[in-house]
Symmetry: C2
Subunit: 186 residues, 2 copies
């Protein structure tokens, strides 16, 4: 009896996601989504209670993308190195997403990736494969590497410095190398 649904939930979500990808949450509003959907705002509020709910859905999709990046190569030989590179690559490929997750306060109940990704024993153990440091030393080492990695990622996400992929890998590799030497010689 009713006309069939023309605008599915996922279309709305995808449009919202892409707007946020390019412009952050600042660029997101109901009329803008409607325009890109070639529709009125009505289909949006059919699928989402209000804009807040839609934003939460977008935020979750963003988190999923981040996890996808961080999991890629988690089982590789050089898993520790890959983690850092993935983090920075995410910041480069999705700067607005990186800013949302790591550089802004949101009320979108952020999962605490910082803690999850950096204080688990896994990360320390993965790093030990590379460095050969003791667990305690490795923890202190890792904090430094993580801060450095985060520093690059922030610079990349804000486009403050335009590092190429090669430069990024060199910078990270070389810094880690120097730090390892530092730890082994003191």
């Amino acid at each position: 009896m009713p006309p069939r649904t023309i605008f599915e939930k996922e279309q709305v979500l995808n449009i919202a996601y892409n707007i946020v990808r390019n412009e952050g949450f600042d660029g997101l509003n109901a009329r803008r989504i409607a325009k890109e959907l070639n529709a009125s705002v009505h289909p949006i509020f059919k699928h989402f209670k209000d804009m807040e709910e839609l934003k939460k859905a977008v935020y979750e999709k963003i988190c999923a993308k981040y996890k996808e990046y961080m999991l890629s190569g988690a089982n590789e030989e050089q898993a520790y190195k890959k983690m850092g590179l993935s983090y920075i690559k995410f910041a480069k490929d999705y700067p607005e997403f990186f800013k949302i997750i790591f550089m802004q306060k949101t009320n979108l109940n952020a999962e605490n990736f910082i803690m999850a990704d950096n204080v688990g024993d896994d990360v320390i153990e993965k790093g030990q494969i590379l460095t050969g440091l003791s667990f305690e030393e490795q923890k202190k080492f890792h904090v430094k590497v993580w801060i450095f990695t985060h520093g690059i990622a922030c610079l990349v996400a804000t486009n403050t410095v335009k590092f190429s992929d090669v430069e990024i890998e060199e910078l990270l590799t070389e810094t880690v190398k120097k730090l390892i030497i530092g730890y082994k010689n003191s």
Copy 2:
């Protein structure tokens, strides 16, 4: 013939500055300033052509505060170390300001502090006093230290990690120490 001016330009600017200090530019609007001034919006537009002009004035005041931090101790013995600590202290004392200058895109014609503060020969030379590295080595060393410092500052500004002043100094000092050892042993 006219009634005397009650609300001076500087009062308006100071109120705006303090709002931005606490809430960033997001919290700034004409009615809010008027309320804190116990006045209508009129005095604002008497002194500033429009909100954009006021924001620029606030931005300049923010930059002045940043410079004040970075200049303090520039002539000290440990000037290089002090620079990094000042940068982080600014991020800690004025997180919203730090975010505005270093973590967001603005249309408020940012002076490029990143470049000014990091690619000048002065910084490299100051660093050489500490490390004793060659000019070329010192340049590569400095990029790493700068990124690391920026990483801490970003974490502090977003309140992602709550480092005490002592922890910050230790972290920076220790990292620099390890890096120097790394550079001297390779």
